[in-house]
Assembly symmetry: C2
Homo-oligomer: 213 residues x 2
């Protein structure tokens, strides 16, 4: 009855962020007909410490076999279950520039339950263009597109100046999870989960270390 019971049900974000990586490695094993993998081997492949691997997996339950290792099929199922692979995640992308088109065609955005269902722009010169199997739609069609979708995810791939308006449009449409590629911190109420990806940040970090030498 104490809160102790729930200790293992709250997975730290750092651990969540490693799960997709573990899954990639485990699936690679499946393809190579490898049945069992040790925390040591997995750690080597994921470039982390083996204790980190073992502790991470305790959040998925007690999956290993002492003296042997982890069954890769069991691991794949356990990880995928936590990442919600039994679900589907419709993705709507705002901004049909090169980045929006790259994401639309990206394997990562069309696997593991994700699939891009709409690509939107405000530029009449781009609307109607084909990108993969999709046609670029007018931004005003986004709201209509969202209705009826479960768990829609919005992606902001617009120029920075348009990001604020876009996020408001998405929220009005009922999107509660947003991935933002614009270099702007979006202010939303806390029911909306926003994650920011800064494409040039890592470049600036590299430059910092080059500057150090």
């Amino acid at each position: 009855m104490s809160t102790e019971n729930y200790k293992k049900t709250v997975i730290p974000e750092k651990v969540v962020a490693r799960l997709p990586l573990y899954r990639r490695i485990v699936r690679n094993c499946l393809n190579n007909k490898i049945k069992v993998i040790s925390s040591e081997e997995l750690a080597e492949a994921a470039m982390v410490n083996s204790a980190t691997v073992r502790r991470d997996f305790t959040f998925l339950g007690s999956l290993g076999v002492r003296g042997s290792g982890y069954d890769v099929e069991v691991l794949d199922r356990a990880i995928s279950q936590k990442l919600g692979a039994h679900n589907t995640w419709p993705v709507l992308i705002a901004g049909a520039g090169n980045l929006g088109r790259a994401l639309t065609n990206s394997p990562g955005f069309n696997a593991n339950g994700f699939f891009v269902v709409g690509l939107f722009d405000i530029d009449p010169g781009v609307i109607g263009a084909k990108v993969g199997d999709l046609k670029v739609e007018d931004m005003s069609a986004l709201s209509r597109r969202v209705t009826g979708l479960r768990n829609p995810i919005g992606v902001i791939a617009t120029p920075p100046a348009a990001a604020e308006a876009t996020v408001n449009l998405m929220i009005e449409a009922g999107i509660l999870s947003i991935l933002n590629f614009a270099p702007i911190l979006l202010r939303t109420d806390e029911s909306v989960r926003v994650r920011n990806v800064d494409l040039s940040l890592e470049l600036e970090i590299l430059a910092f270390y080059l500057n150090q030498t």
Copy 2:
């Protein structure tokens, strides 16, 4: 004579990663003719704690004025100096798909000392195409392009299967700093600094939390 003296010269990576954000905010102040900013205001804009802001800035020196705040021009100069803005960083992008083209045209890759000097591909159907001011070159031209450049940064925007070969090509050409967008962990010797950006990772994290509810 003790190592204590060097304490403040080693800037933690977490702090480095916040510097570009602070700089954006500070430059915004400059544009709006705001002369002074407090740690509280900056913290609000950067969505961090004000103590974090103040501690971060101690790594740049003692820049503030007690009772008043930070001079935005002083801040801009101090941050830019640490990020090496007096230097220039030629960027070479491997892979002229949508992502490579997006990065080539991206403001973040053509500001603050960064400029894309080459875009390379192996697909003859793409080689020769114009992207912004650049023409896509054959991958074999990359090595030639690097010679004579100081502090070149390589960007891998190829399909995953080509990433391994591309990184080897870059290292042979003398590139020591690499930004990798392929969902593959690259193994290099430790003289090469590799940073990985996983475009779909944040999507998977969003999905995890959607799955929780």
